[in-house]
């Protein structure tokens, strides 16, 4: 019987405490009268059911009351719900994008054991984060000399013209060694990846996207033939959906992988062109990255190691794949994470502020309710319910807002390889919602806890109010500090961006396009094209209406198509300085037609431009200022002889202004030579026209088909677009941090506004008395605004100190801008001070409307 009693006593706990205390003994007395087991069981069941029903009913009633109370104060409710929604939506969107672009693991089975070999850039090239590619020969030597790597595979990236049946198009092509997919740990969606056996045949693996778009996703695709740059390949497999290649600067979604590469090219000038090769290595079992780095530095120190005697000793480096691809992004990610958390904190602080203020304003209501017999717990429950309703509405609205904002954010963003596939991340949503809801509830309960702590009874509750206002002032100060830090960082990024767009690239890129021509024979050899063909195409392009000019060049800045580099020697200089393959003596070589400089609007401060006779007369060259600076520091370059091979030396006839191939890197020395009558494997035609890319592509395509149908349609690159790509990282950073900073500013100002507005409201009575005693309204207004400004100033001070640390984290995102840039710091201070003055003055102006007579009668 005792056991039964205990069971029922336990079951009674299911009831709300108030009911349980009232009826517990009566119920127990009743139960003691019952002895029949069936009836007891029935009674136990009923207890549980009614207890749950009662709980639900009471909760519902509290919620209804909460909604009624919140509807009485629509402005307060709207501000709190709006703040929560903004914080949740903003963070969910920012995190989801970051997660997709940067955080998602690389889609390789053993991604963390993969790395990339590279040459450490020499001191002259400033692009510190750029990975210099090395040659196949170097890669093989390092691999042979190392102990840490279990496998190596190579990849080189370019575009190819694909023909499949009657269909022709340009595809992204990766030439890889046969073990490429095996080393990456990627399994085919269909068919097989390259076999070692049968290497004699040319095999191709196509992407899932290409399979769907061009081959109707038929399973019979295997064994079919495609032609890439006039070479036939057999399709042996389809890569899995979402397969990307680990190109060091970014991740690329390519179309075709082949086991045979384009062969090395020799240009007309006898300059060897080495295709950029990215050697990807995997760690041997039982080793780690530290061992691998030690291995590489051993190879670097051991001069007799990988390089043959007489060759320059390059310094090599190995980085894990994720470090190579996301290296500098990591730190920025941390910055954005901190910024997002800062905005969440501000939003939560604002909500807390509003809830505390509301609780203080409801002192009267709570006092009346407690004197009518409401227990402390009932008041807790009510406050809790109201905060829950607020948090719930804020979360729902935030989710809706996030869903609507994500597509807009994606379209405003520069194109990043994995960005378009961004969807709202569930775990991110849960995290942000959970965080804000938790803080809201805490902030909602805080005043109730204070009340309990100072339950002196009656209406007087001065202590609680005083404590509340101290906390509120601190919260607003913290908000200002966070907003200040974010604004300083965004300001620095903005300056960088502006500086970057103002970089002098050395030519006028407006309306410039480059049409690219490269030709291979069916055997894979680059077919040399007759220069006359290039001239005829250029001449026909010039005749297109609306085209201002067209010129032939092998290298066009920012077109990123071909790179011709050569080791230069200077006539009359010792060989030690002009040894072969010395990085210091490497320069770019560009063969151009005579009107190239004029068309590109490249300055020619000294000497002359090319003329028609230069192609047949004695060899001449034009060098740029960077070349002069490196090889002729005293400036007497005109007339000197330079060359790649001593027998064929060019005489310098002109000095051109520097041009840049990237916005952030340094300009490399460049030698212009005339586009000669010797056959060339590739050339570009740079066109200036306001017609736009697609009409131009159509016209050029028609001309090329007329002149030489075997050339197909050449790809056309817009140089301004290509330049914009260089700023995309900075633009993304600016966009993300800028949006967060503006959000932070608005929220912090709302905080300042609410605290001033609240303090004016609280002191209505006091202000009325002061004015009745003869105080001037302006004096009181000054005092209130001054106090708000002092709070802001303290916040700004703390914010400036925080910024000094924070800006260092974005230092590598900055371009020619100091992390302690005075303009950004001073501008932010000024902006915050003036904005908070405004936010303080507007609500304080209400004082002027105070009528002492009315105020004194009030209460």
């Amino acid at each position: 019987m005792n056991a039964l009693r205990m069971l029922f006593a336990l079951l009674l706990l299911a009831y709300p405490g108030e009911f349980r205390r009232e009826y517990r003994s009566e119920i127990m007395a009743d139960l003691e009268e019952r002895h029949e087991p069936r009836l007891l069981l029935h009674a136990a069941w009923d207890l549980v059911v009614t207890a749950i029903g009662m709980r639900v009913e009471w909760l519902w009633r509290d919620l209804e009351y909460a909604v009624r109370m919140l509807r009485k104060t629509p402005v307060f409710t709207a501000v709190v719900v709006g703040t929560l929604a903004l914080a949740i939506a903003g963070n969910a969107v920012v995190f989801s994008i970051l997660d997709t672009v940067l955080l998602k693991p690389l889609p390789y089975a053993n991604a963390d054991r993969l790395g990339i070999l590279s040459i450490i850039p020499n001191a002259d090239s400033l692009g510190t984060n750029r990975l210099e590619s090395l040659t196949m020969k170097d890669a093989r030597r390092i691999f042979a000399a190392s102990h840490a790597f279990g496998a190596m595979t190579t990849a080189s990236f370019d575009n190819s013209r694909m023909r499949a049946g009657s269909n022709q198009r340009v595809v992204g092509r990766v030439s890889v060694s046969p073990n490429y997919f095996a080393v990456l740990g990627v399994r085919p969606e269909l068919g097989i990846f390259f076999q070692k056996r049968g290497m004699a045949t040319n095999q191709a693996v196509i992407s899932d996207a290409l399979w769907h778009s061009d081959f109707g996703a038929v399973p019979t695709i295997l064994g079919r033939h495609i032609v890439l740059d006039r070479m036939q390949y057999t399709i042996v497999g389809v890569a899995p959906r979402g397969m990307v290649d680990p190109l060091p600067s970014t991740l690329l979604a390519d179309d075709v992988w082949t086991n045979a590469s384009k062969p090395a090219v020799a240009s007309a000038q006898g300059v060897a062109l080495s295709p950029a090769v990215f050697p990807i290595v995997s760690l041997r079992d039982g080793t780690n990255w530290n061992a691998a780095r030690a291995d590489i530095s051993r190879i670097n120190q051991n001069k007799a190691g990988p390089h043959a005697p007489g060759e320059p000793s390059n310094t090599y480096d190995v980085r894990s794949l994720s470090a190579a691809i996301f290296g500098s992004a990591r730190r920025f990610l941390f910055v954005v994470f901190a910024a997002v958390s800062g905005v969440v904190l501000i939003a939560c602080a604002n909500v807390a502020n509003l809830l505390v203020a509301r609780a203080a304003a409801r002192d009267g209501e709570f006092s009346v309710r407690s004197s009518l017999g409401a227990t402390g717990r009932a008041i807790y429950a009510q406050v809790m319910c109201e905060t829950l309703v607020l948090a719930f509405c804020g979360s729902v609205l935030g989710l809706l807002l996030a869903g609507a904002a994500l597509p807009a954010a994606l379209s405003a963003m520069p194109a990043f390889p994995r960005a378009p596939s961004t969807t709202l991340n569930l775990s991110v949503l849960l995290y942000v919602c959970g965080l804000t809801v938790a803080v809201t509830i805490l902030a909602g309960l805080l005043p109730a806890i204070w009340r309990a702590a100072v339950s002196g009874g009656g209406f007087a509750n001065e202590r609680g109010v005083v404590r509340g206002s101290g906390v509120r002032a601190t919260l607003v100060g913290a908000e200002i500090a966070i907003a200040c830090t974010l604004l300083v960082c965004s300001g620095l990024l903005l300056r960088s961006f502006v500086t970057m767009t103002k970089v002098n690239v050395g030519f006028d890129s407006r309306n410039l396009y480059a049409a690219q021509f490269i030709e291979q024979t069916p055997g894979g050899e680059l077919r040399n094209q007759h220069p006359m063909l290039a001239r005829r195409i250029a001449q026909r392009i010039r005749e297109i209406p609306g085209v201002q000019g067209a010129s032939i060049a092998q290298m066009v800045p920012f077109s990123h198509a071909f790179s011709m580099r050569a080791t230069i020697c200077i006539a009359g200089r010792p060989a030690s300085l002009s040894g072969p393959a010395n990085l210091k003596n490497e320069v770019g070589i560009n063969a151009v037609s005579p009107n190239y400089m004029r068309l590109m609007k490249i300055g020619l401060p000294r000497g002359r431009a090319f003329i028609g006779e230069d192609t047949t007369g004695p060899p001449v060259a034009i060098v740029d200022r960077a070349f002069v600076k490196r090889f002729f520091p005293r400036g007497n370059a005109l007339g000197k002889r330079i060359g790649c091979v001593p027998a064929h030396a060019w005489r310098i006839v002109g000095i051109a202004a520097d041009t840049r191939d990237s916005l952030t890197g340094a300009s490399q020395p460049l030698v212009y030579v005339p586009f000669t009558d010797q056959p060339t494997p590739f050339f570009q035609i740079v066109v200036r026209t306001a017609r736009g890319a697609s009409p131009l592509a159509k016209d050029v395509g028609a001309i090329v088909r007329q002149l030489d149908p075997s050339l197909g349609t050449p790809p056309i690159v817009s140089l301004p677009d290509s330049m914009a790509q260089d700023t995309s990282r900075t633009r993304l950073s600016l966009l993300l941090l800028g949006a967060l900073a503006v959000l932070a500013l608005v929220l912090a100002l709302a905080g300042v506004y609410s605290i001033v507005s609240y303090s004016v409201q609280r002191r209505y009575h006091e202000i009325g008395i002061r004015m009745a005693l003869g105080a001037h309204p302006a004096t009181i207004l000054n005092r209130i605004v001054a106090r708000a400004l002092v709070q802001s100033a303290i916040g700004i001070g703390v914010g400036i100190v925080m910024s000094a640390f924070a800006t260092r984290a974005i230092a590598d995102q900055l371009f020619q801008t100091s992390p302690f840039d005075a303009t950004a710091f001073a501008g932010t201070t000024l902006l915050l001070l003036s904005c908070s003055a405004f936010a303080a003055v507007v609500p304080a102006l209400r004082i002027i409307r105070v009528d002492p007579a009315v105020t004194l009668r009030y209460e």
């Binding site: 009826y23 009566e26 009743d30």
Partner: protein, 113 residues
């Protein structure tokens, strides 16, 4: 019809009011009386009884009496005038329905009162 907003009563509530109409009773006595009157077909367990009692007290249909009890844990309840009027209204409503059931031959024809 008066008390439209509370009628019809739940059967249990009506039985409780009926029992209290006969006189004061404590909770267990109410439950026993209902079980006896319905031949055991309506069982009111404490879990259902006291929430109803609490609500009726709050709404002023019944009141606690100061009457003494053998068990100090028990409280005795009596019908309030308002509770009586509600019980009457419910009874009238049911009577009307019963008369109709007779007319429609759902129940055997009754002798006119």
């Amino acid at each position: 019809m008066p008390f439209e907003d509370v009628l019809p009563l739940s059967p249990r509530s009506f039985y409780i009011l009926l029992v209290l109409a006969e006189g004061e009773a404590h909770g267990y006595a109410i439950a026993q009386a209902v079980a006896a009157a319905t031949g055991g077909s309506v069982q009111i367990t404490p879990g259902t009884l006291y929430p109803i009692v609490r609500q009726m007290l709050a709404d002023g249909w019944i009141a606690e009496t100061t009457g003494t009890n053998d068990d100090p844990r028990r409280r005795t309840y009596r019908l309030s005038p308002r509770g009586r009027r509600i019980a009457q209204a419910e009874a009238a409503r049911l009577e009307q329905a019963i008369r109709m059931a007779h007319r429609c031959k759902l129940l055997p024809a009754s002798t006119p009162a």
